[in-house]
């Protein structure tokens, strides 16, 4: 997503590493079958991931954020279908590749880690072997050499005594450690982008902090791009440089995390931030919640997908779908974005 040149300047100052669009998603639409025919669960999604950047993708259930991640890895299975759009990795539209051709991308260009490390690992295989298995998928080297790399990887993800740990089984390790092992496996192919889908949600808060610190360090050391998908606003705020807010399958706001969270412009982003419950919230007032429910696929609103629940809704909001447009330092999908800037919720 190209933003103002002013912003580009700031980015270049902040990060000396090269800035290039590693991944570009253009007008991605995914559908599912419903009683009323196929309906969108992700609609016209457009965003990009730069090299070395930490991008947050925030949304609640039904926002389509996980499906987006799966699309990037081409792991979408029936009944969900990629209806239209392009996903460009290094300029190549990977949606047009065959499975064979794309397989080279998985692991070596783009890798993914998930919420539950326990189910991502083979319970009857030593973790060292699992890492080696992954390394050998991408490199033609001997097992001995792969073992050395595996130990090095374990060390880089902060696991103490890696030479011993290589021989451990998953059940011998805690959740936080396992997630680190999963990260090690993901890194074994030396990908340029790591997608973390709710990767810290199942972890204790102290472990979560450590894992996020690890991801941060890895991003910096290896110029690795991280797409962090989460419903936890705090995690997104702390970790990501830029943020995408999704609702009902659409991207509603996009910009630098600090900007979006300090001065949210889309009514959904504002409502979402208002409904937070962290220890800075005033305990004597009820928390401002959003009335209603997120849209079900078989019942998508016409026009703006947030209109039925929006405080500032107008006739024009229902008649046409607002497109993502650039305003100041970010992109917002709301026709009333400018006028609402001064209005308090």
């Amino acid at each position: 997503m190209h933003t103002g040149s002013e912003l580009e300047e700031i980015w270049i100052q902040e990060s000396p590493q090269s800035m290039s669009n590693l991944i570009e998603v253009r007008n991605l639409t995914l559908t599912v079958p419903t009683s009323k025919g196929r309906a969108s669960v992700v609609e016209n999604l457009t965003f990009s991931i730069q090299q070395g950047e930490k991008l947050g993708l925030v949304g609640e259930s039904g926002s389509g954020k996980s499906l987006t991640a799966y699309s990037l890895m081409r792991l979408i299975k029936a009944p969900v279908r990629i209806e239209s759009g392009e996903i460009l990795i290094n300029g190549v539209d990977v949606l047009k590749l065959t499975e064979e051709e794309f397989r080279k991308y998985r692991g070596s260009e783009i890798a993914m880690i998930y919420q539950d490390p326990m189910s991502a690992l083979n319970p009857i295989m030593k973790i060292g072997d699992q890492i080696i298995e992954s390394i050998l998928l991408h490199k033609k080297i001997s097992k001995k050499e792969a073992l050395k790399i595996a130990i090095a990887l374990l060390e880089s993800v902060g696991i103490p005594e890696p030479e011993e740990r290589v021989h451990s089984y998953p059940f011998e390790m805690s959740g936080g450690m396992l997630q680190r092992v999963v990260i090690a496996i993901a890194l074994s192919g030396e990908p340029k982008v790591l997608i973390a889908d709710e990767a810290t949600t199942a972890l204790d808060v102290t472990t979560q902090e450590r894992v996020l610190n690890l991801l941060n360090r890895l991003a910096e050391e290896r110029n690795l791009s991280v797409l962090l998908i989460t419903h936890d606003l705090g995690v997104a705020a702390q970790f990501s440089d830029r943020i995408n807010v999704m609702y009902g399958g659409r991207l509603v706001e996009q910009g630098r995390t600090r900007d979006v969270f300090t001065l949210p412009q889309h009514p959904y982003t504002r409502a979402l931030l208002d409904s937070r419950c962290d220890y800075t919230v005033d305990v004597n007032k009820p928390i401002r919640s959003i009335a209603g429910q997120p849209p079900r696929p078989d019942n998508r609103p016409s026009g703006c997908v947030f209109a039925p629940r929006c405080e500032h809704v107008e006739a024009a909001c229902i008649s046409s779908i607002p497109e993502l447009r650039d305003i100041d330092d970010r992109a917002v999908a709301c026709i009333r974005a400018e006028e609402l800037k001064s209005v308090k919720n």
Binding site: M177, T206, E209, R210, N213, H231, F261, R276, Y279, V283
Partner: protein, 321 residues
């Protein structure tokens, strides 16, 4: 003068494991006043769920005592516990699996009334309607089954069920943890409203400090079966004395760029996975930056220090204030 509605003293629960017995709860004491909310904060392995089950009478302790509404339930069997069940109910974490997937919402809410054979068909139906509306849902939801509802709606049904017998105490075991941010707000508002209207007492078990802060009058922080710190909301959040509490507060990511974090960020980047030493006097020693190498922390037994009537902790080298 509000009465003590739950009193737990030196409660312990040991489980027989492969490597000997494990103390899930190590001599904890809690006192909950009528109409108030006590938050039990802890991560996995802290023993908070074990404590909830014991207080609910669904498990027997290996040591210590529990009294609920003036009755000593420590040695109660199922039939003795039964009458008390009308007064103390539970709302659990998973919105869907805590409701019987084969039953309609109506039958779910009616459940407790059927268990105690309360009233007749007509009066029960009336009560069900009263309850469903009290939790913000409509009568049309009564004929649905859990899988036809959203997570937030299911949780509301669970709350309605918990209120069916007009209990005095509600135990909320991670009741909002599985909900989306905006839905969580709705349910927390609902819980607060119900508490005010009906004078309920809440035991709120959570790992989420933000939720604990919002809901609770008093907080108890648990770590490996022990209460490491207790106090009012202000005391715990603004003046934590135990290193674990401070570490927890520092770890919580907050999406608020305008305020400085209330607690100074204490570097927690100690050993990733220190294997806890069961012989340590302080269970937190192996993770503690301060106590790691101190002899006292591994050998000298801990006793609770109270700074005020409400604020207490167990630590040999608490944070200076």
């Amino acid at each position: 003068m509000p009465s003590t509605i739950i009193k737990v003293q030196n409660l312990s629960r040991a489980f027989k494991g492969s490597g000997g017995s494990v103390l899930a709860l190590d001599s904890i004491s809690i006192s909950l006043q009528e109409g108030k909310t006590l938050a039990v904060v802890g991560e996995s392995g802290s023993g908070k769920t074990t404590a909830a089950r014991l207080i609910l009478g669904l498990d027997k302790p290996t040591a210590g005592s529990i009294s609920v509404l003036g009755q000593e339930i420590t040695d109660f069997g199922p039939s003795q516990m039964r009458p008390l069940r009308r007064e103390i109910q539970v709302v659990q974490q998973d919105p869907f699996s805590q409701l019987n997937r084969r039953h309609t919402v109506r039958r779910i809410i009616e459940g407790p009334m059927l268990a105690f054979k309360v009233g007749d068909r007509k009066s029960r139906e009336k009560r069900v309607i009263e309850l469903i509306e009290a939790v913000g849902l409509q009568q049309e939801h009564l004929t649905r089954k859990p899988h036809e509802l959203s997570g937030g709606q299911c949780q509301r049904v669970a709350i309605a069920r918990a209120l069916a017998l007009d209990p005095k105490i509600l135990i909320l075991d991670e009741a909002v943890s599985a909900l989306d941010v905006s839905v969580r707000a709705q349910v927390l508002n609902l819980l607060k409203k119900l508490q005010k209207e009906r004078g309920l007492t809440y035991l709120f078990i959570t790992h989420d400090l933000g939720v604990a802060h919002y809901m609770a009058d008093e907080i108890v922080v648990m770590f490996r079966g022990r209460i490491v710190e207790r106090g009012t909301r202000e005391e715990v959040f603004q003046m934590p004395r135990h290193h674990y509490t401070a570490g927890l507060l520092a770890s919580v990511p907050v999406a608020n760029f305008s305020t400085d974090k209330i607690v100074q960020k204490i570097s927690q980047d100690v050993i990733v996975q220190a294997t806890p030493d069961k012989t340590d006097a302080c269970a937190y020693r192996s993770r503690c930056q301060f106590g790691r190498d101190k002899k006292d922390c591994s050998e000298r037994a801990l006793t609770e220090t109270m700074a005020s009537a409400t604020h207490g902790w167990i630590c040999h080298f608490p944070i200076e204030r």
